[in-house]
Amino acid sequence: MSSTLGVLSDAERLFIVHGVQDDLRSDGRACEDYRHVEVETDVVSNTSGSARLRLGNTDILVGVKAEMGEPDPGRPKEGKLEFFVDCSANASPEFEGRGGEELAIEVSNALQRIFSSKSTLDLTALCIIPAGQCWVLFVDVLVLECGGNLFDAVSLAVKAALFSTRLPTVIVTADDEGQQEIELSDDPYDVKRLDVDNVPLIVTLSKV
């Protein structure tokens, strides 16, 4: 297939269309079949949570870094979630330089939109001191290889990474002057996990 050129001849196009009509795609799958998925969590040591996902030829690496910051003034009892997607140049030759920027923005906007709903992730669990300090989770997605179906793979990887995120338990004490002091617990196993049951997944359909 001349898929590298991105141009299909008429015969190839007809072949694909006829195949789809018979519920058969060019790699042998049925119309509603996924490719083989491999997920691995805790792959990067410096992060609070990470995941690597392979969906066919698509390879995504997600790292979650948790930092403490100030909450949004309009939502003082909630933490924050920031997404950043990087379509790196080694994923596809089209992503060289600023080529991958548009796609990266599209994916990160999509993620932003999913997580803006209150029912996806309970952000109140990320609150430390209301209107004072909260956890800010920086979710960074790195596209190592782009082999199609980027949105699905990214959402799966983000869910896995959030699942593996471990936030150290925070103890808030009030000291003598009434100021609130934050202490992290010493025990490395005393961690808080996030409830990712309601984190949505993206499924892509393409009509031929």
């Binding site: 001349s2 050129l5 141009v7 001849s9 008429d10």
Partner: protein, 213 residues
């Protein structure tokens, strides 16, 4: 005569059984729809039964097409090529100029290798040129569908510029200023003379024919 009807894009005009679709319209499910916001005209065609419907809006989106004559202003001249800014396409003036390129081998039809660019064009000259056609026998055309795009690229130039050619008698420099600043008068196909100083300068001059209107 009644004022012609104005139609908007997507307006259903007639069915294909009653009329033929002309410029500015498209056919969908047996009906003719308008493509533009313009005036609708229906006229009889010679030799055909059905009248033809066209939607006309005076301003056409002017883009240099293959084999169209363009007017360009030379911006820079080098040994191998000369860059210009295309200002008009046929009779339409463009709002914003496109970039064009005249290669050394496209300046003349004869003696292509002995061309000296600086003796044909100078920056500031107004030039009539033709956008190179891809069916030109000089350009190798591969007819495999996969390479059709590449062939088109050769004809319309590269990502930056349109490829122009002045290899005809009627094409070349039409207006040029001499070193003294006066508009020069053409003397022959390769010379222009300044009326102030009388000195001759070399250019590839266009033989402009007066057109009967």
């Amino acid at each position: 005569m009644a004022a012609p009807r104005v139609c908007v894009p997507g307006e259903r005009l007639f069915s294909t059984a009653d009329c033929e679709a002309g410029p500015g319209t498209y056919v969908h499910h047996g009906y003719i729809y308008s493509c533009l916001a313009g005036y609708m005209h229906k006229r009889k065609q010679d030799g055909k039964e059905l009248p033809i419907i066209e939607v006309i809006r005076q301003k056409e989106d002017a883009v240099p097409r293959k084999d169209s004559i363009v007017t360009a202003k030379v911006t820079s001249v080098s040994g191998r090529m000369c860059k210009c800014a295309i200002t008009c396409v046929e009779r339409t003036t463009l709002r914003e100029p496109f970039r064009g390129l005249i290669r050394k081998e496209d300046v003349r039809a004869t003696e292509k290798d002995r061309v000296e660019m600086y003796k044909c064009f100078r920056p500031g000259d107004i030039v009539l040129a033709r956008v190179v056609s891809f069916l030109d026998k000089k350009v190798q055309v591969s007819l495999l569908t996969g390479f059709l795009d590449a062939a088109c690229q050769l004809s319309l130039g590269d990502a930056n510029c349109y490829l122009l050619s002045t290899a005809e008698n009627e094409l070349g420099v039409v207006l040029a200023l001499s070193e003294a600043g006066a508009q020069m008068v053409p003397v022959s196909w390769c010379d222009m003379q300044c009326p102030k100083t009388g000195s001759k300068e070399s250019r590839k001059v266009a033989k402009v024919q007066l057109q009967q209107e």
